[in-house]
């Protein structure tokens, strides 16, 4: 029962995190359009994560989003996957997707990247977004069980330490 409670907490935290993450991505161009200096901070926050090329990004309020189309797709996919998570997995389950499933969802984004990288083709932003979306959907099915296991592991570590100290 306690595990389920902790798992539910991890799930809620993940869901809240991705909503805030996506909110910041959209907030950057909005703030820039309102001439608020805060936009600099938000664009800078996402710059290590994404090349932020305007030609590869969607525009809103006349300015590019804080991440490119592919990254946006990955984060929206993550949100979609997190939304689906309770309907597909039990919170207490640490089961992970099959390797084949991971390979299948990775294939479109890998092919798209390779084609662009080798200059075989140049995909439009909506396609970059779509391949990212497909890939991103599977990620919460790794992230949430992983974080639950990490939390349990840390708790076990603390308990073991307490027993050791008491026995001394």
């Amino acid at each position: 029962m306690e595990i389920e409670k902790k798992a539910f907490f991890v799930y809620l935290f993940t869901l809240l995190g991705i909503v805030i993450w996506l909110g910041l991505i959209f907030l950057a161009p909005y703030l820039k359009s309102r001439s608020s200096e805060l936009h600099v901070f938000i664009y800078a926050l996402f710059s290590p994560l994404c090349h932020q090329l305007p030609s590869r990004s969607f525009f809103i309020f006349n300015y590019p989003l804080a991440v490119c189309a592919r990254c946006l797709g990955i984060y929206f996919g993550f949100l979609a996957g997190a939304g689906l998570f309770p309907f597909i997995r039990k919170f207490s389950s640490l089961a992970l997707p099959k390797t084949l499933t991971f390979v299948v969802v990775t294939f479109p984004v890998a092919v798209d990247f390779l084609g662009n990288f080798l200059r075989l083709w140049s995909t439009p932003n909506w396609l970059r977004f779509s391949t990212g979306l497909i890939w991103g959907t599977i990620l919460p099915f790794y992230f949430i069980p992983g974080m639950i296991d990490l939390l349990l592991k840390l708790k076990r570590g603390k308990a073991a330490l307490r027993i050791e100290v008491q026995s001394k």
Binding site: P48, C71, Y142
Partner: protein
């Protein structure tokens, strides 16, 4: 029988260096955050390869977080000399795009203004470390799921952690 926990730092250093470098170098960085996930998967692979015990997905998350921190440091330092070059490249690209596009945002010239102060550098480093750690944890978990041993070898020890690392469906 050797059932000692493997050293997490060497795989994290290798994975972090690879991920940090590839996510900074122009043209290679078009995969953005995926490099950090990939670097952590590499770290998880190296961890599994050197480990005589069955590792849990929590172990993958830990090595992933460490990889993310290393990647953030590498990325931040590589970024210092590359930043002025990239700014010039983007400005030229936008000028070129402006010749072919009918409507360009009116204030695009301002997008590339501003240098990097010491405060800015540390702020970016801290932000990178937090974001890269999250993505690194994800990569480490995926790595353990893909490369991790599902059952302990007969002659070697097992870890005290759960073995929920396999391809299991509910």
């Amino acid at each position: 029988m050797n059932n000692q926990r493997p050293n997490l730092f060497v795989p994290a250093l290798i994975g972090g260096a690879v991920a940090g470098a590839l996510s900074s170098i122009p043209f290679f960085n078009c995969l953005c955050c995926i490099w950090i996930i990939g670097g952590s998967m590499l770290a998880a692979y190296l961890l599994v390869k050197d480990s005589s015990v069955v590792l849990s997905i929590g172990d993958g998350a830990i090595v992933g977080v460490l990889t993310g921190i290393v990647a953030a440091v590498v990325h931040s330092f590589i970024d210092i000399p590359l930043r002025p070059l990239m700014r010039e490249f983007f400005q030229n690209m936008m000028k070129w795009a402006g010749e072919y596009m009918e409507e360009m945002p009116s204030t695009w010239e301002g997008w590339f203004e501003g240098g990097l102060s010491v405060f800015g550098f540390f702020l970016r480093l801290i932000a990178s470390a937090i974001f890269f750690s999250i993505l690194g944890a994800l990569g480490g978990i995926i790595g353990i799921s893909l490369f991790g041993r599902k059952t302990p070898p007969r002659t070697q020890g097992t870890s005290d952690v759960s073995q929920d690392t396999g391809d299991r469906q509910p």
